[in-house]
Symmetry: D3
Subunit: 128 residues, 6 copies
């Protein structure tokens, strides 16, 4: 993927708002093996998809947390987006209740694992 400077700068701003990170931090966390993935995250996800104002950031994070907890195979990304949800105004109590709302549709194990992810993120936040 060719990097595009205007998408990158728009994405950079949105990553700051949602994750409280810089694009350089995203690039470091994804490692040097697959720079295409960092470009995708910064420019396509945050530089394009998150740019539409049809959904506010709070709702986008609710969708993302629900989707990642449903998948059950994306533990690090779930924790990242729980942190993003807190930053976009979703409260701790709401995050727990999102996991409870998943119980009847995705099952109790997904909800328990989602609550465990919340607890880890909350504890890390409390230590700062």
């Amino acid at each position: 993927m060719r990097s595009d400077s205007s998408r990158r700068s728009r994405g950079a701003q949105k990553i700051g708002e949602v994750l409280g990170q810089t694009p350089e931090q995203v690039e470091r966390s994804l490692g040097d093996v697959a720079p295409q993935l960092a470009t995708y995250v910064i420019e396509t996800i945050y530089g394009e998809i998150y740019q539409s104002s049809t959904l506010d950031l709070r709702t986008r994070q609710v969708v993302t947390v629900a989707a990642l907890a449903t998948l059950g195979t994306a533990a690090p990304q779930l924790r990242t987006h729980i942190g993003g949800a807190l930053r976009c105004g979703v409260t701790r109590e709401e995050l727990i209740e999102i996991m409870v709302q998943l119980v009847p549709y995705v099952g109790v194990a997904a909800a328990i694992n989602g609550v465990a992810a919340c607890r880890e993120v909350f504890a890390a936040d409390d230590k700062r």
Copy 2:
């Protein structure tokens, strides 16, 4: 599952708010083979889980639509909850954008199938 009249009446009210249905319609739609499932839906899902005010109904429906579209194996339930989301104040444009938000996390096929489900529900609503 033993039916419990106070949970049932609380559930009945919530089913009306979310789905615009009566418990009897839920029972009929689930058929007569598994009355336990109708009891679970009416009393546990709507009579208990949906009773907590920690999440407003709009957010619950966003979570449910995101989860069902992520699963990809629950087409009839996804359509039901897209209808419920509209009834709880999620707009058509927001529902489409929820599917777009799923693209990077769940894949473009889930989003396309989710948009197709939206389109069916919107068309059925327009015919009424």
Copy 3:
């Protein structure tokens, strides 16, 4: 896959017991495009895996029905194995209750779809 006549004859007998079919029917139902899949079903699944007496056929069918209903992506195979479960002594009421048991672990949509599959198989049996 090379066909092996002794595995095939053992598999043929077991397919008769579990599905009430002949190997030729299995071959026809899988079509002529992928004879390897028919060989796998007849010789590996029924000629080897089902041969072990550690699990009785009833329990094997309970496992298979639970697994296929959990996957949610194998509707024709789920119906086939619901039929196999009935043939191996699982009752209709037990099959419905297996779907109910999946509710808390896999979600209510999987259970509803599983009950719908049961209902189709029961209705087809009643017509014979």
Copy 4:
């Protein structure tokens, strides 16, 4: 979810039979962040769903182990229910064979991971 004392006491008894635990142990293991999940487990799963006598406990545990091993995203819950299966009369050999039965329908990785879960539970039991 409002707690209901008669469902709780019925659930408590069933949790003892299946898991050899008290409701308080379940509550502690699920942590203090989401008491609703503990209520769901104790009162809905064990106090309602497990109460029906249509399936014996042995069969319920076979279903649950098959479903959790199929999901592949619920490792702690799979270990818990392998332990429950042993307690309800499923033998070690049968549990291993359940995983083998999953091979053709869910794939060999799910079976290998399921066997690894069995081995952990068996080893922990042997240490007691």
Copy 5:
């Protein structure tokens, strides 16, 4: 997503090579409800991801067919990419064997459903 004319023209060329379609056909097939999805498909998937020469088109289609058949929830997209694989030099026999290779890792139902998708695409091709 803002459309970008140079990505669009690169994507258009690649869609022609892989799917034998024009961007306008992609847009029509995705309907008018979610133009963002068409932009994503044309500009991000074909205009960026498919542009890298690290993988030849044949291998990309093998990856895509294997992934979609594994998901099991993307039947229309699987058929589209089976067609794309044929166009990129994967033979019919190879496509069937790809499904057979999935048997031990994803299960026989996914393989059977994948073979059925192949058969539909082959039959439609034969009719032209």
Copy 6:
């Protein structure tokens, strides 16, 4: 499963080519609890499915890596088959690009986890 010496010897040779292992190593890695699984891996997967020359080993490994990365629940097996892919001529750059190709169909988390698996295998290879 009854072991069959000719399938075993054919499987042994293929395991050497693909994984660089002996059947005894496979048996040890799968442990002594479930010898049936080792027999399945050696005789059915490598002794039968891998024997067909319709797909070359390189393509088989591309399929297997794509499938396991899509599942997201088979981390040890994914690493094993990334190693097998390298041995069958897939380059490191191609393996990373396979994960990038999964982004639009399976989601960015699967791709990131797949790249992480690649990085572990590459690092272990570099240490030898």
